[in-house]
Structure formats: structure tokens, C-alpha cells
């Protein structure tokens, strides 16, 4: 039996000491989607042999008969040479395995069907999927999808225990008298506003990040009271619409994020379509229900680095214990913008690359405006170094970070840490149908504040799925460091010598 299944019988099986526990948290839908489909014909006599031999837990008894196969756990064709291949071992020839034809209509080039399925698997079990399901890269044909680690050949991974490998990163490196905030993994949550997602998803994110000692972000849409218990793990955003921004919200938190731009719609404002402005959302944003809400672009009070500094000073004055993060997108001069933010006094520069997620954006912007994050990381990291200020800035990046491998690659290219968003939503079973903006919102209850649809998400369930995903990521990150002979994620920053690009000689 593998570790994932052990934890079903006893949570201590996968719990790290002092770490959040992984608990198996299956799909909330009756028919989970996997790479393979296993069918059991009427010939089955419920002899139970398949349940005895399958190490992946595909087959189980349900009383006197066999339960429907949990086929999303099946490793498919890769199993054919195993002694425990159920199809061959079944005395009645009642079992068949085939590729799931639904893969054809699932996912896209960046989030391939297999990346979706593997993320669901990790969110359920806290483990990487067995078999041949791709969980590291997508199929976009560039950037992270063409970059791979080159682990030193012939080197055995270091045999140090997990807890001796550090994934901790500091967020304040300026020595400016403000708190030394640290997070236990190089990942925190991106801004998703109340209105763009449901309250239960917001709270689940806060709980999961609290469990992993990191942060989630309110986005621009107010600070619901239900988040107050998690204040120390919440970043609140000040964006151009100032929706829900109050002195109190700024004073509650340890990090305030100025959002100048978003990678999915660089240079354009935010947009919450009218249908999603429910009475509760309107109240939070001090707006009128049913009316579409636009955040203008840009901040009309900021047209220079000096103006920008005034903004940063304003926040620092209102909350003397807060760090300031500046979230920008990736124009040609993104390196200059980063240096400008340093001089304005920011603690964190957060680059959001052009292929990032959103609740709604014009397709023309998502596809065409600003550069992918892979380029921006290299540009900014190098420029900050050349300017002699790299060690004082925390460089956080986002926009297309889907997997633990993306996290590690982004850091090796020069980032200190990353921000994720879509992968969290996938963990709570987003299917990337891209219809978040329309009507009452998400048909799966994630990107919606519709009172009925929101009920589709249970807070505890979503919290655990996120905890599990990060447990799986953490394990992969530690494994990568071990294979590189490193003990600390900070050693990996800018280590491009550990990477190779398939398109280069």
C-alpha cells in the first residue's frame, strides 16, 4: 500500500512533525476524472481478487459486491507488466482499462489535462500521482515547459531528513526596522477578491496558508470579517478602485500589497461583471448591486516613482508594522520599474507575468500584452544585481506558476519565491472552463458569490485540499534540493547553472 492510502487509516502516516496533516480528501463529485477509465462488466463475481492485488486502491468492496472502480487512481497502460495488473488477473475477464476520452476536451496547452489530473490527485492525497501522469510541465512549447533541471549525474540525493531541508524565506530583506516576516515555504497566495471568488474559498485559502505559515491575499474587494481570525496570514491589496480599502483593513495585516497591474490584463483595469456584484459584494465594496465594477487603470495619483514613493510612505505611516509589496506586470522596462520600487521603499517587488490567471479579462490582453514571467525574472534579477540592490529586495513572481517544478525553476531563474492562484483553484477542482466571468459565476462554486453556487464548496474540504497540495509541493521541492545537494531553498536563487533549456544547444 502506498503512503497516500495509509493516511486514510491513520493521519500520522503522512504527517510531518509540526506540519499540517495530510488527510485524504477525495473529489466532491461522484465521478472523479482520471487519465484512465476502468470498467467492470457484468461477468464480475465479486471474488475480490482485484481489490487484493491493486496497490493503488482502484478496487474496493462495497458490501457484498465490488464498488465502482476508483479509476482516477489507475496507472493504466504502465501497469500491464505488473503481476498485479487487474485486467489480466481477473478470473472472469470482467475488467478493462482504457485512456479516458474526456482528456480531449479537458485543459489546454498551459494546463494540460494531465496537469489538472495530477493537481487533483495531489490535493486529494498529498502525494505525486503514480504511473505516467505528467505532473511537472505543461505543453506550451516555451518557458517553464522547455526548461528542466539538470541534476548532477551519479549523485545520490542527500539522505538528510525532510525537516533539515529549509524552504523558509524572509520577506523583508531591507533592514528598515520593520518586522522580519518569514514564510515556511517559498509560496504565498495571489490576490483574489471577494466577488471574484466565494467567501468559503477565501477562508479556505487563509486557513491553508496559516497552516503552512504563509499568506493569502484579499485582492481588491474588501476584507470580510470572516478573515479577521487569520489577519497575520493575510495580505490586503490597495488597488486602483480602492474597493473596500479602509484604514482599519490596512492596519490589520502584516503585508500590504499595492497592485499596479495584473499579468492577465496588463495596463487594463479590473472588471467585475454586473451579475457577480451580489448585494453582499456590493456592500463590501460600497457599490450598487448588479452594476459592473471597474477598477480604473492606472492609479491616477501615480505618474512617477516619486508619486509611487508617496503611496508607499502613506501605507507605511498608517501601519508601521507592515511590509509593502508592489505588484506590477511585465512591460519592456520591468527592470526599471523594479528598481524604482526599491527606491520608493518597497520590501517586496512582485512581478506578475502575462500568462497569469484572472476572474475576467479581454482575451486580447491575456494573450498579447506584456512578457511572460520567465523572461521578466531573469531581467529583473540581473538588473537588481547590477544595481547592487538585489540582496535588499524580495523578488516574488507569479503568472503561470502551476507546479512545484515551476516554483523551483522560477527560483533558479532568480526569484526568491512565488505567488500562485490558479493551482489553488485547481486543487479545489477548478476545471479551467474559463467561464468565471459569466452569469452567476463558476458552475463549480469556486469563482462565484452566488448564494446557491457558493454552497458547492465546503470550507473544511477546500482547506484540506490546499494543505494537501502544498504538502505534495513541499515534498517535491525538498527532493529537488536534495538532488542538487542543497539544504536551503535560498541556495537555489539564480542558480541557472542547474537548469537546461531544451531549445538551446
Amino acid at each position: 500500500m502506498n503512503a497516500a492510502l495509509q493516511s486514510e487509516t491513520g493521519p500520522e502516516g503522512t504527517a510531518h512533525s509540526g506540519r499540517p496533516e495530510v488527510r485524504v480528501t477525495p473529489s466532491r463529485f461522484r465521478n472523479a476524472i482520471g487519465k484512465y477509465i476502468v470498467r467492470r462488466s457484468k461477468e464480475c463475481i465479486a471474488c475480490g481478487k482485484c481489490a487484493d492485488i491493486c496497490p493503488y486502491g482502484v478496487h474496493e468492496f462495497a458490501g457484498k459486491t465490488m464498488a465502482r472502480p476508483k479509476d482516477y487512481r489507475c496507472i493504466g497502460a504502465a501497469c500491464e507488466n505488473n503481476d498485479f495488473y487487474c485486467v489480466r488477473q481477473c478470473p472472469q475477464n470482467a475488467l478493462s482499462v482504457r485512456l479516458n476520452p474526456i482528456l480531449e476536451v479537458l485543459g489546454d496547452k498551459r494546463w494540460t489535462p494531465e496537469l489538472l489530473i495530477s493537481t487533483w490527485y495531489m490535493a486529494e492525497t498529498g502525494e505525486v500521482p503514480p504511473g505516467d501522469i505528467e505532473y511537472k510541465i505543461g505543453d506550451s512549447g516555451g518557458g517553464f515547459d522547455r526548461i528542466e533541471f539538470c541534476f548532477p549525474p551519479g549523485r545520490e540525493p542527500d539522505a538528510v531528513p525532510d525537516d533539515e531541508v529549509s524552504l523558509r524565506i524572509p520577506l523583508n530583506r531591507r533592514n528598515d526596522g520593520r518586522p522580519e516576516v518569514e514564510i515556511d515555504m517559498p509560496v504565498y497566495g495571489g490576490g483574489m477578491s471577494y466577488g471574484s471568488i466565494s467567501l468559503s474559498v477565501m477562508i479556505a485559502r487563509a486557513r491553508a496558508y496559516q497552516a503552512w505559515n504563509s499568506f493569502t491575499c484579499t485582492g481588491e474587494g474588501g476584507y470580510p470579517e470572516e478573515l479577521y481570525p487569520y489577519d497575520d496570514h493575510v495580505i490586503t491589496q490597495v488597488a486602483t478602485g480602492l474597493f473596500g480599502v479602509r484604514e482599519d483593513t490596512i492596519q490589520r495585516v502584516r503585508i500590504v500589497e499595492f497592485k499596479y497591474a495584473q499579468g492577465a490584463k496588463p495596463g487594463l483595469g479590473g472588471h467585475l461583471l454586473g451579475d457577480k456584484v451580489t448585494p453582499a459584494v456590493a456592500k463590501m465594496r460600497e457599490a450598487v448591486p448588479g452594476n459592473a465594477l471597474f477598477s480604473p487603470f492606472p492609479f491616477h495619483s501615480v505618474y512617477s516613482v516619486e508619486d509611487h514613493k508617496k503611496h508607499v510612505d502613506w501605507i507605511k505611516h498608517i501601519n508601521p508594522r507592515a511590509l509593502v509589496s508592489v505588484k506590477v506586470s511585465t512591460p519592456t522596462d520591468v527592470d526599471m520599474v523594479a528598481v524604482g520600487s526599491y527606491h520608493a521603499g518597497a520590501n517586496i517587488i512582485h512581478l506578475d507575468g502575462s500568462y497569469g490567471g484572472t476572474g475576467a479579462a479581454p482575451d486580447i490582453a491575456k494573450k498579447n500584452i506584456a512578457m511572460p514571467i520567465e523572461y521578466a525574472i531573469v531581467k529583473v534579477h540581473n538588473f537588481l544585481k547590477e544595481e547592487g540592490i538585489r540582496d535588499e529586495m524580495t523578488l516574488i513572481v507569479s503568472g503561470g506558476i502551476r507546479t512545484a517544478y515551476d516554483v523551483a525553476k522560477a527560483i533558479a531563474l532568480g526569484a526568491d519565491g512565488v505567488v500562485v492562484g490558479t493551482s489553488e483553484l485547481v486543487a479545489v477542482e477548478c476545471i479551467r472552463c474559463a467561464a468565471c466571468e459569466s452569469g452567476r459565476g463558476c458552475a463549480r462554486g469556486i469563482a462565484t458569490t452566488d448564494p446557491e453556487l457558493s454552497k458547492l464548496i465546503d470550507e473544511d474540504w477546500a482547506t484540506q485540499r490546499l494543505i494537501n497540495l502544498f504538502a505534495a509541493w513541499r515534498r517535491q521541492l525538498i527532493e529537488i534540493l536534495r538532488k542538487l545537494g542543497m539544504r536551503d531553498i535560498r541556495e537555489l536563487v539564480g542558480r541557472t547553472d542547474c537548469l537546461k533549456h531544451f531549445d538551446y544547444e
Binding site: D145, P266, P298, V305, I364, I431
Partner: protein
Amino acid sequence: MTDTIDSLCKNCLRCVQSCPGQVITKVANAEYKRLGNSYWTPDIIRRQWFQAETGRIPVSGAGYGGPFSGPGFDDMWTDMSEIVRPTRDGIHGREYINTVVDLGRSLRYLRFDAAGHVVGDAPKKIEIPIPIILKDLPLGSLSESVFLAMAEAAQAMDTFMIAPVKEWKPYLEPYKAHLIPLLTEAEIDTHGELIRGVRIIEIQLSDETAARLSRIRAAYPDVLIMVRVRLGERSGEEVLALTRAGADILHLCADRDGNVESGNGPRFVKDVVRSVHMRLVEAGCRNEITLFASGGIAMAEHVAKSIIVGADAVALDIPLLLALECRLCFRCEAGLSCPVEVENIHPEWGKSRILNLIAAWRNQLIEVLGAMGIREIRRLRGEVGRAMFFDDLERETFGRLFGKRKKRESVGN
């Protein structure tokens, strides 16, 4: 249960995942996958249909799901302004962004007489409110209704439609202020009256064109002369010669998929337009002439990108057919019937669909301009500094880290 209404499906897969009998599944529509060709993909076609029907720009949630970059127009990104360069909030009407372009020549310099008065007249110019004219269609089950729909749309937008003289029938007379007759040089001599009635004519380029331009200009002083240049290896020199010979507008045409034949395999229209534009810049005469690009312009972003690489405006063809629900099955080219009977459209319906499409494209242009902080589409021309190219970014970032990039497959489609 009755049949599913597949066109309403949002692909949330709730039904697939919740069905107790596991009897619902979903497959891609084979007919959809057969739409168009490798350049005019089903996705492009579907998007133009949506815009022609609704006049809305495509908006969606989640991130971009397409490839990292691609051939043709997909190997460049447009810029945005951040902090130190203000963007323009054009799309919600809070700031005005101008999409007017001027057609015609500009003087290189002014001349003054002894008394300090300007000598000579400024060349005639025509303004159009959008950087788009409608081009004669390269295929399609065409009819009077189709031409009427296009002419009506051109008139409504106060732009132009190119009409080959052989299609020129009396029913088009009311629209002639917005029509550009396309003529061979031989036809110029036989269509004097028609030419005098319009504002712009287009001539098919021949070896004689440059030499004959001044004679045509003298015969029709009030008409702007546009020359259609089929892009090829000699385009740079041809365009320079025509500019010096006094053409007002040059129309640079690639094939319908945006390809241009050259000795080393096909080049893409965007790259050829960029080199032609640069040839004129180097010769110091780019500002004297108006350049149109056409061929392979399939989406709104292609208009912005064509202008960034050096065109003043574009001429649209196949997207107009798509607005009329063409499926690009290419049966008409084989002389077969049109499955959607494009020839039987109602002109009013066709006009509205074309207007919707181009309105949506204009809004998207404004999004792109606003993000860049550019308030004038005329300022966008040749602004390659406000764009990012795949090859440059790769060289500047990964090239420094990983050495030499392996040769890419050719850019053609």
C-alpha cells in the same frame, strides 16, 4: 431527455462528473475541428463569429491557455505602461483614444516664397476613423447582397471598400464615395468617368506603374492613387521606387494566410512589412506615404501588430466573410455550393454583422493602445520599441544563460 443544446455548453463538466449512471461524456465536435485551415483555425473562426453576432469583445476568466508563442503574429507581445508612463483609460470612455488615420502623401518639407508664404498646395488627404478598409474578397460564394452588405458597412463606418471594376454595377453607385475601384493599368484608360467619381483608386502594380504615375495623377488630380504591391523579395525596392514616383498609398499584400514567397521559403507578412517600412525609414521618405498591409489579418491583435511593425492601416478580407458566417470550407473555390449560403444573406444583416465585428476589433485596439499609454493610433506606427519579440527576448534572457538557440522551424503556416 431531449437532445442536448451543445452550443450552450460551458465545458464545466458538472454533468459528466455528477451523473449517477456515468452515462454522460463529452467529446470534441469533429465538424468544429475541421473548420478552416492551419492558419484560420477553428478558434479564430469561432471568435469572429461571436464578435460579429454580439459586437462584444471576447472576455473570459482564467489565464491564457494557448501556446507560449507561435509563428506569424504570435511571436510578439505588445507593451504596457507601468507607473512612470501613464496608461490611458480608453475603453470605458474616460479618456479619448483616437483611431483616425490619414490616407495620402505628406510633404517632406514646406517651401516658401520671398514674402514668406507657403508655395504650392499640400497634397490631398483623406481621414478614416479606423485603421481598417475592406478589401475585395479572395474567395466566397459572393453575390450582389454580399457586396451591398460590405458597401453599406464601409459607408456606415466612413471607411472604404475595394471593389474590382468588373464587379462595379449600378447598384453600387450610391456608395461610390466609399468605394475604391481596383483597376489594371489598361482599365484606367477605359474607366475615366468612374475614376472621376471616386476619391481613391487602386492600381495593380506592373513594371510600368512607377513610370506612368505622374500621367495618371495629371489626368485625375483629385483622386488618390493607391498601388497594390504583391509582396515578394523585391518589395523594398519596389515600394521605394513607387514612393519616389509619387504614389499616395501603397497596399502591401501577402497571400490569404499571410505568407510571402521568398527564395528561402515563405516569410510572414508582419516581417516583410517591417523590412519594407524600415527600407523607407532608411531612405528618409517613410512619412511621405501611407502603407496598408493585408493578408493573414485574422484577429484584432493583428491590426495592432501590423501597425507596430510599420503599416499605417490594414485591409481586411476573410474576417468579413467570417462575419457572414462563412466556415472557410473552401468548397466555393472548387465550384461547389456554400453550406451556409453566404450568397443569400440579407444585406442589412450582413452590414450589421460586419459593423459588429469591426466595432469589437476597434474596442480591442483601444485596449491595446490604452495599455501602452498611446492616445493616437498614428503614434503606434513603427513603434517596435513598444513591442517585444520572441527572438529578442530569448536572446537577451535565455541566450545569456543557455548559449545558442537551436534553429526554429520555419515561420510559415
